[in-house]
């Protein structure tokens, strides 16, 4: 499943997640549920948030950053990181934290599986033309 389709499915299933943006490791925007301009601003601020959290991790001598929740009275920001991408989501106040993290991990897994299928198809095409 590609990133856009995975986000569309997540938006259908989740009643809590209001906005989703997926960012590549190099910082580029992969896909989002909002317009490009807003998505770029979300991505930039989320990168700063992740870098700040990573600084906290280094200061504490912990292992790699896996996920975070920034909770405010107006809403929450969630970040989930995998080997290739970061999923960023916003919710209203007092979300079901475990459920939102689960949904974002599922989103990243679906995108990664889509990558694997695309790579397999490319390999088959290459083998077929050789």
């Amino acid at each position: 499943m590609d990133a856009t389709a995975a986000i569309a499915e997540l938006r259908e299933l989740s009643t809590q997640i209001e906005t989703v943006v997926v960012i590549a490791r190099d910082g580029s925007l992969v896909a989002s549920s909002v317009q490009d301009e807003a998505a770029s601003r979300i991505a930039a601020a989320a990168r700063d948030l992740a870098e700040g959290a990573d600084q906290v991790r280094r200061d504490l001598g912990r292992e790699a950053l896996a996920q975070l929740q920034a909770a405010t009275p107006e809403g929450s920001v969630f970040l989930v990181v995998d080997d290739h991408r970061t999923a960023v989501a916003t919710t209203g106040a007092d979300p079901t934290v475990g459920l939102v993290f689960y949904d974002l991990k599922t989103l990243l897994r679906q995108i990664a599986e889509g990558d694997g299928k695309a790579a397999d198809e490319e390999q088959e095409r290459t083998d077929g033309s050789a």
Binding site: E18, V34, A38, I42, V56, A66, A70, V88, A93
Partner: protein, 71 residues
């Protein structure tokens, strides 16, 4: 006597108002925090008012503001 009748409700009203303000301020403070989870399964929770939270929460506010505008 009439003056005392007036003072008591005013004092009670002012006390209630002050209590509400303090409770609300504390509630907002408690609801603002940053929970960071690491690969080894450990987690650190940074409460509002800590230096790290105060440095990082503005980025979260920017994300929320951009999300509201983009929705």
């Amino acid at each position: 006597m009439a003056r005392r009748k007036l003072v008591i409700p005013v004092v009670i009203g002012a006390g209630s108002f002050l209590g509400t303000v303090l409770y609300r301020r504390r509630s907002v403070r408690n609801r603002t925090r940053l929970d960071i989870y690491f690969d080894d399964g450990s987690m650190v929770s940074l409460a509002a008012g800590s230096p790290d939270a105060d440095r990082l929460m503005p980025h979260a506010d920017l994300v929320l503001a951009a999300a509201r505008e983009g929705a």
